[in-house]
Symmetry: C2
Subunit: 424 residues, 2 copies
C-alpha cells in the first residue's frame, strides 16, 4: 500500500461544489488502495477577507492574533472536506496544524518548521481513515501559540507531512496542468514538462514561475520528497519534480535539457551613477541597501571610465522595496560619494533554466542571438550554473520569451489550458 500526500489550494476548495468534487477525487485515491493524507488551504478568498477584517479593527494587527485569526480559514475548509468525504462513505478526520504535530518556531506570520511529529495522523491512518490537515499552520512548543508558515505555507505543509510520513509521493493539486516550459499566458504554445529536477525547479521558481513555492521545493529536495504537480480539474499526469541524487531509477533523466523560460515583471532597477572607482565602495553601497531588508537580485557594474575614475552600479530588487532603498542611499550620498541615483520600474526579466548550460557552452550564444533577431535590447545579464537571466524593457519581455522559447525548440503543438486563480 502506498502513502500519498495531496495538497489542494484555495481555488480547488472555493465553494461547497468544489469541496465535494475534491472529496470525490480523494476518495478515488483511497479506493485505488492508497493511504491518503491531504493538506488543504483556506477556501477561495477567505484569507484575504479575514485580513481585511483585521485591518478594519486594528491598523497594525498583533501578529499572534493575526495567526489565530487566519488559521480559522483552513479549519473551515478541512472540516468541510472531512464531512464531505465521510458523507461519501469513507472515514475521514481533520486535524489542525497543532494536532498534526507541525511544530514550528514562534515567528508569527513566517514560522519555520522545527519538527513534525504526526503521531495522531499515523493512528488515524492505521484505523483506516483518510487524514485531512490544515495547511499553512503550526504550533510553537515554546510559547504554546498557534503560528502560520507564511507565503507558500500550504505547499510546505504538504511536503513536510510527506517527509515525516515517508510518503511515496506528494501531489500538489493546482489550477494548471503542471510545470510549463514558460508561462502559458506569455507563451501560448508552452509545453508541459513531464519531469524536472528540483534544482531546475528552484531556479524557475526564483525566476518568476509561480506554480510551486520555492520554500516547498527546497524542503522537498532536502527531505527527498518526490513532488507531482498536477491539475485538480483533470486526471492527466502533471510534472514530476525529483532530485537525480536520490531518486533511484531517475538518473537516466539527467540529460542535458533546457527546462523552461521564465519571465518576471515584479522588479525595478536602481542605478547608482558616478560611483568613485575605489576598493570598498560597492560593499558600502550594498551594506546600505541591505539595512533596508531589500532582496537585491541582479547586480551589474559598468566598466570604469578611465578619464573620470568613476563608474555606474546597477541592481534590481522587488518594486515594493525600491523606495526604501533609494531613501537609504540618498541619506548616505555624502559618505558614499556617488553623483546621482536613477530608478527604473519599467524593466522585465527573462530567465532560461536547464542543466544543459552545465555542459553546453553554446546556450548563451543561442539565447543572445534569438534576442538580437527579435530586435530586443539586453540591459543586464546574470548567470548561475543552470540559469541565464537578462533584463530588457518591460514591454518587450513577452516577445522575448516567445522568441527564446522557439529558438530552444520548446514550442508544443497545442495551446496550454489555464483554469481559475491560484491558492496559497
Amino acid at each position: 500500500m502506498s502513502l500519498i500526500v495531496q495538497k489542494y489550494g484555495g481555488s480547488s476548495v472555493a465553494d461547497a461544489e468544489s469541496i465535494k468534487r475534491v472529496a470525490k477525487r480523494i476518495v478515488e485515491a483511497r479506493k485505488a488502495g492508497n493511504d491518503v493524507v491531504v493538506a488543504v488551504s483556506a477556501m477561495g478568498d477567505t484569507t484575504d477577507d479575514l485580513l481585511d477584517l483585521a485591518h478594519e479593527v486594528a491598523p497594525i494587527p498583533a501578529p499572534r492574533e493575526l495567526d489565530m485569526l487566519l488559521t480559522s480559514g483552513e479549519r473551515i475548509s478541512m472540516a468541510l472536506l472531512a464531512m464531505a468525504i465521510k458523507s461519501q462513505g469513507y472515514d475521514a478526520r481533520s486535524f489542525t496544524g497543532s494536532q498534526a504535530g507541525m511544530i514550528t518556531d514562534a515567528t508569527h506570520g513566517a514560522a519555520r518548521i522545527v519538527e513534525v511529529t504526526p503521531v495522531r495522523l499515523r493512528e488515524a491512518l492505521d484505523e483506516g481513515a483518510i487524514v485531512i490537515v490544515a495547511g499553512f499552520q503550526g504550533f510553537s512548543r515554546d510559547t504554546r501559540d498557534i503560528t502560520t508558515l507564511g507565503r507558500g505555507g500550504s505547499d510546505t505543509t504538504a511536503v513536510a507531512l510527506a517527509a515525516a510520513l515517508e510518503a511515496d509521493v506528494c501531489e500538489i493539486y493546482t489550477d494548471v496542468d503542471g510545470i510549463f516550459t514558460s508561462d502559458p499566458r506569455v507563451v501560448p504554445n508552452a509545453k508541459k514538462i513531464a519531469r524536472i529536477t528540483s534544482e531546475e525547479m528552484l531556479e524557475l521558481a526564483a525566476s518568476g514561475a509561480k506554480v510551486l513555492h520555492i520554500r516547498a521545493v527546497e524542503y522537498a529536495r532536502r527531505h527527498k520528497v518526490k513532488l507531482h504537480v498536477r491539475s485538480s480539474f483533470t486526471h492527466d499526469e502533471g510534472t514530476i519534480v525529483y532530485d537525480p541524487a536520490w531518486a533511484e531509477g531517475e538518473e537516466n533523466m539527467e540529460e542535458a535539457i533546457i527546462a523552461g523560460v521564465a519571465t518576471d515583471l515584479s522588479e525595478a532597477k536602481i542605478t547608482v551613477v558616478g560611483v568613485p572607482d575605489v576598493p570598498g565602495v560597492a560593499a558600502k553601497i550594498f551594506t546600505t541597501v541591505a539595512k533596508t531588508n531589500a532582496n537585491v537580485d541582479m547586480i551589474v557594474q559598468n566598466v570604469s571610465a578611465a578619464t573620470t575614475g568613476r563608474t555606474d552600479i546597477s541592481f534590481t530588487l522587488p518594486k515594493g522595496e525600491g523606495e526604501r532603498a533609494l531613501t537609504a542611499l540618498s541619506n548616505e550620498k555624502a559618505s558614499l560619494g556617488f553623483e546621482g541615483l536613477q530608478y527604473d520600474d519599467q524593466i522585465g526579466k527573462l530567465s532560461l533554466v536547464g542543466n544543459a548550460m552545465r555542459s553546453n557552452a553554446g546556450v548563451s550564444a543561442r539565447l543572445f542571438e534569438a534576442l538580437f533577431e527579435a530586435g530586443i535590447n539586453i540591459e543586464m545579464i546574470s548567470t548561475s550554473e543552470i540559469r541565464i537571466s537578462v533584463v530588457t524593457r518591460a514591454d518587450t519581455v513577452s516577445a522575448a520569451a516567445r522568441a527564446v522559447h522557439t529558438a530552444f525548440e520548446l514550442d508544443g503543438d497545442a495551446e496550454a489550458v489555464v483554469h481559475g486563480g491560484t491558492g496559497r
Copy 2:
C-alpha cells in the same frame, strides 16, 4: 483588584465597528482597575452560515467535523477582539477553549464541562493582559478532540470561567437592558428587574424567557457565581442574578416578590382520549413518549367519567417533537388501549414566577381572577413552588400577559428598549 468575567454575544460583535466598540468597553473595565476575562461568541450570523455550508457538503455532517467547523467562528471573533484591544494600547491575548483549559466530555455538539483548568489564563492575567476566550467550545481529554457546548454555550463558558477563576462577577452583555418583568415585545411597559434570585431566573428561563440560558443559570447557582445581565449598548445597571443562600449581604432581598410574567408559544398539546382508568396506564403512555426523547412539560389528567371508566390525559411538549410522539403513541394504540389522539399547536403558555408564592396563598387566586376579567379561558394549569403556569389559546396569551402584569402591579412608567437580535 476585582476580577470581572464578561460575555459578549454574536450581535455585540457582528462587524468590525461593533468589535471596536466592545473593545473600548472592555478597556474601560480594565482602566477602572479590574482584571478582565472575556468570553465571546461568533460574529453575527457566522455560525448559521457555517451550518449552511456544512449541510451543502454533507446531508448529515459528521459531529466531530461539525464541531471543528463551528469553533472557527469564535476563533475569528476572539482574535479580532484581541487585536482591537491591543491597538487601543492594552495587552490582550486570545485563547481557544482548549488553550483556556475548558475540559469537556466527548459528546460532540452538546459537550458537558468536566473541569476548567485556566492555567494559561492566570498566567496572562498575572502578566497584566486582558484575556479573551472563545465561547461555546471545549476540548475532550479522552479523544483529544475539539467539542462544542451546544445551545447557550457561550453563556456557560463565561460562567464556568468565572467559577474557575473565582471572579467577583460574571457580566452577560446582551442586546436588552437586563431581565424584564415580561417580554417587552409582549408587554410594552415591562420593567427591568434590579435583582432576581437564581431560582426565579431558572423558572423564568424554563418558562420561555430567552435572555439567559437555563444551563448557564444552573451552573452559576451551583458554583456560586453572581451574574449581571446588562446591555452592551448602554452603561446602565442591568439585572443581578444571585442566590440568597450564598450571596452575603443580599439576604435582605429575599422579600416576597413576583419576579415576572413569561410567555411561550413554542409548545403544542397532545391529548390522549379515552384512556382506561386503571393503574399503570399513565406510566406506559409517558414511557412511550419518553422513548422519542420528547421533553414533556405540563401534564393534566381529567377526572375519570364514572360511567365509562375512561379518562383523558393531556400534555404539552415542544412543537418540533410533536410528530414523533404522536407516531409512537399511535403504534402502541392497541397495547395502551386508548380511543384516540388529539393534537393542538395553537396553544400559548403564561407563567407567573416569584418567591411570593411560597408564603402568599392569594397569588393563584389573583392570577385566575385577572385572566377571568380579561375574558381568557384557562385550559391547563401547573405549579411549582415559585411558579404558576397556565395554558390558553395562542392568540390570547399576549393579552393575558398584559392583564396579569397589570394585576400584579409590575407595570413600569416607560416602554422598554430592545436592540437588534440575540447571539448564541
